[in-house]
C-alpha cells in the first residue's frame, strides 16, 4: 500500500468497478446482491484509499471486500433458512480472490450494460443503474447529478434491480441476435445520459456532476468492447462533436448562445478531429444509422470556420437521409430549418405546417421557437415576436426561456 491517492485514482476506481461487479456477479450468480456488495466496496475504497494509499492489487482488493460482503449475505441467508453446515462450509471457498480474478471475462462489462439497459426498465431507472453499475458512481453522486435526494435515488436503483431480478435475466452475454436487438436501447441510454449532462451544464445547475463526460467515458468503453460496430462509433463521434462546442454555448451570465453566434475559436479542436476520424471510419463500414447521421450533421457544423461558411446543402441532404432512417417530428423540424437555409424561409415555414397537426409536437416550444426564427428571417417581425413569446411560455428550461424572451424583446425594440 504505497501509491498516493490522486484524482486519477478515482478514475481507476471507476474503471475497475464494472470489472469487479462483472466478476462477482458471475461468481455468485446474483446481479442484484453483487451490485450492492460492489457499491459498498467502492465506498470503502473511497474512504480508505486516500488515507492508506492504493493497494498493490486494487482490483483484487475490491473483489475481496465485495465477495466478503456477498459471503456474509449468503451466510445470513443460510442461517435464516437453517441450512446444513456443509453448505455453509462451501461458501468459505467463495472468497478466494485469485479464483474470481482468473474467472474474469472482458465481456462482463458488456453484460452489465445490457443488464442495466434492460427493456423492462424505464429510461430514468436504466440511466441511474447504468451510472452506478457500469459507471462506478456512488448513489450520492448520481443523486447530486439529478438534483434529487439520495434516498430517492437509492430507491430508484433498488427498484430497477428488483425489476431485473423479476425478469429472470441470467448473467450472460445476450446471443448475437438478442444483442443486435437490444443494442439500440443501450445506445439510447448512453445518449440520454449525455444529453442530460449537456442540457444541464448551463443555467442554475452549473454545479452538477459532469454527466456529459461520464457518458463519453462509458461510450468509449462500449466502443472498446464492440470495436466494429459503426453505430457505437457514430454515437461516440456525435458526443465528441457536440461536446466540442461546450465552452462557446454560454455567455458570461450563463445565457444561451445559439450556434450561429458562437465564438468558434472556443470550440475544442481535439474533440472535433477525434470525432471526425471516428465518423470517417464508421461511415466507410456500409450500414448507416441514426447516430452516424447525426454525427455527420454535427461534423458539417464543426467544420465551418464561420457560421456563414456552413455547408447547408449537405446538412439538408443528411436530414433527408435521417428522415428515411429515423423519421420523427424532431427530425422534420430540423429538416425544415435546413431547408429554410438552402431554399429560403418560405419553404421552411411550409414544411413546419405539416407539424401543426402532430400531437407530439403541436404544443411543443421547439416548434414555436423555430417558427419564430424563420418568421424573423422572412421579415415578419410581429408574428415572430408572438411565437418567440409562446415558445418562452412553453419551454421548461430557464436558460432557454430567458433566451426566447430576450429574442422577442430584441425584435419588439427594433
Amino acid at each position: 500500500m504505497t501509491k498516493p491517492w490522486e484524482t486519477t485514482s478515482e478514475h481507476l476506481l471507476r474503471e475497475l468497478a464494472p470489472q469487479v461487479l462483472g466478476a462477482v456477479a458471475r461468481r455468485f450468480r446474483d446481479f442484484s446482491t453483487a451490485e450492492d456488495a460492489v457499491q459498498e466496496a467502492m465506498i470503502a475504497a473511497f474512504i480508505q484509499w486516500p488515507k492508506e494509499g492504493i493497494p498493490d492489487n486494487p482490483r483484487g482488493w475490491l473483489i475481496q471486500v465485495a465477495s466478503r460482503r456477498m459471503t456474509d449475505q449468503v451466510r445470513s441467508e443460510i442461517a435464516r433458512r437453517e441450512r446444513e453446515t456443509a453448505v455453509a462450509a462451501e461458501t468459505e471457498s467463495l472468497t478466494s480472490v485469485p479464483e474470481i480474478e482468473a474467472d474474469m471475462d472482458p465481456d462482463d462489462t458488456l453484460i452489465l450494460l445490457f443488464m442495466c439497459c434492460h427493456p423492462a426498465l424505464s429510461p430514468s431507472s436504466a440511466i441511474a443503474l447504468t451510472l452506478r453499475a457500469a459507471g462506478g458512481l456512488t448513489t450520492a453522486e448520481i443523486a447530486n447529478a439529478f438534483l434529487v435526494p439520495e434516498a430517492t435515488m437509492a430507491q430508484r436503483i433498488s427498484r430497477a434491480k428488483q425489476t431485473i431480478k423479476t425478469s429472470g435475466t441470467p448473467f450472460r452475454l445476450p446471443s448475437p441476435h438478442e444483442r443486435a436487438e437490444r443494442l439500440p436501447a443501450v445506445l439510447h441510454v448512453l445518449y440520454l445520459i449525455f444529453s442530460e449532462g449537456y442540457a444541464s451544464s448551463i443555467g442554475s445547475h452549473l454545479q452538477r456532476f459532469d454527466l456529459a463526460r461520464e457518458a463519453i467515458r462509458l461510450t468509449r468503453n462500449t466502443k472498446a468492447l464492440l470495436p466494429d460496430n459503426a453505430e457505437v462509433a457514430g454515437l461516440l463521434a456525435l458526443m465528441l462533436l457536440t461536446d466540442a462546442r461546450r465552452a462557446a454555448r454560454t455567455g458570461p451570465d450563463e445565457e444561451l448562445i445559439p450556434l450561429d453566434e458562437q465564438d468558434r475559436s472556443l470550440w475544442d479542436r481535439l474533440e472535433i478531429s477525434e470525432g471526425i476520424e471516428l465518423l470517417t471510419v464508421a461511415l466507410s463500414r456500409g450500414s448507416i444509422g441514426l447516430y452516424q447521421l447525426q454525427a455527420a450533421i454535427a461534423a458539417v457544423h464543426d467544420e465551418a470556420g464561420r457560421a456563414e461558411d456552413t455547408d447547408w446543402p449537405q446538412i439538408l441532404a443528411l436530414y433527408e437521409l435521417l428522415k428515411r432512417v429515423s423519421p420523427g417530428p424532431m427530425v422534420t423540424l430540423n429538416h425544415a430549418i435546413a431547408a429554410a437555409m438552402v431554399h429560403g424561409s418560405a419553404q421552411g415555414l411550409q414544411l413546419l405546417r405539416a407539424l401543426d397537426s402532430d400531437p407530439r409536437l403541436a404544443s411543443h416550444y421547439r416548434l414555436d421557437a423555430v417558427r419564430a426564427h424563420l418568421l424573423e428571417n422572412a421579415g415578419d417581425y410581429e408574428a415572430a415576436i408572438k411565437h418567440y413569446r409562446v415558445a418562452a411560455a412553453r419551454t421548461t428550461s430557464i436558460p432557454e426561456r430567458n433566451y426566447l424572451m430576450t429574442q422577442a424583446a430584441r425584435l419588439a425594440g427594433e
Binding site: 451570465d253 412553453r394 430576450t406 419588439a412
Partner: protein, 130 residues
Amino acid sequence: MKYILMMNTMRAGHGVPEWPQKDLRAHIAFMMTLNKELRESGELVSAEGLSFPEQARLVRAGKNGTPVTDGVFPESKEFLAGYWIVDVDSAERAYAIAAKVSAAPGPGGAPLNMPIEVRPIMSGPPPEML
C-alpha cells in the same frame, strides 16, 4: 432554520413579460447573481423557477381515482413563479433575502417590490424527543 421564500407574482392569462431587452437582461442577471451569492454563502438549499401559468393544471381524482384536470383559471388567480429554500441563522436573515428578491429590477430598472411570502419550513422532532 429553513425558510421558503415564495414569489407569487404570476397571473393567469398573462404571458411572458414584454419588457425592453435591456431591462429583461438586467432582471435575469440580478436573479443569477442572487442565486450565486446564496450558494456561495452556503445558505441556498434549493431554488426553482416554475413554468408560466399556461402549463398549470388543477388535478382532482375522478371516478376510480383517475385524474381529472382543469386548466382554465380566472385572470385574478396568482401563481407561484418560483421559490427559494434557504437555511439561515435567523428569521431576520430570511426577511433580508426576501427583501432583496423583492427589489429585483423591472422595466426601466426600477425595483419591482414584489410581495415575497416567507414561511418557516417544519422540521423533524427536536433531538431529545427522538
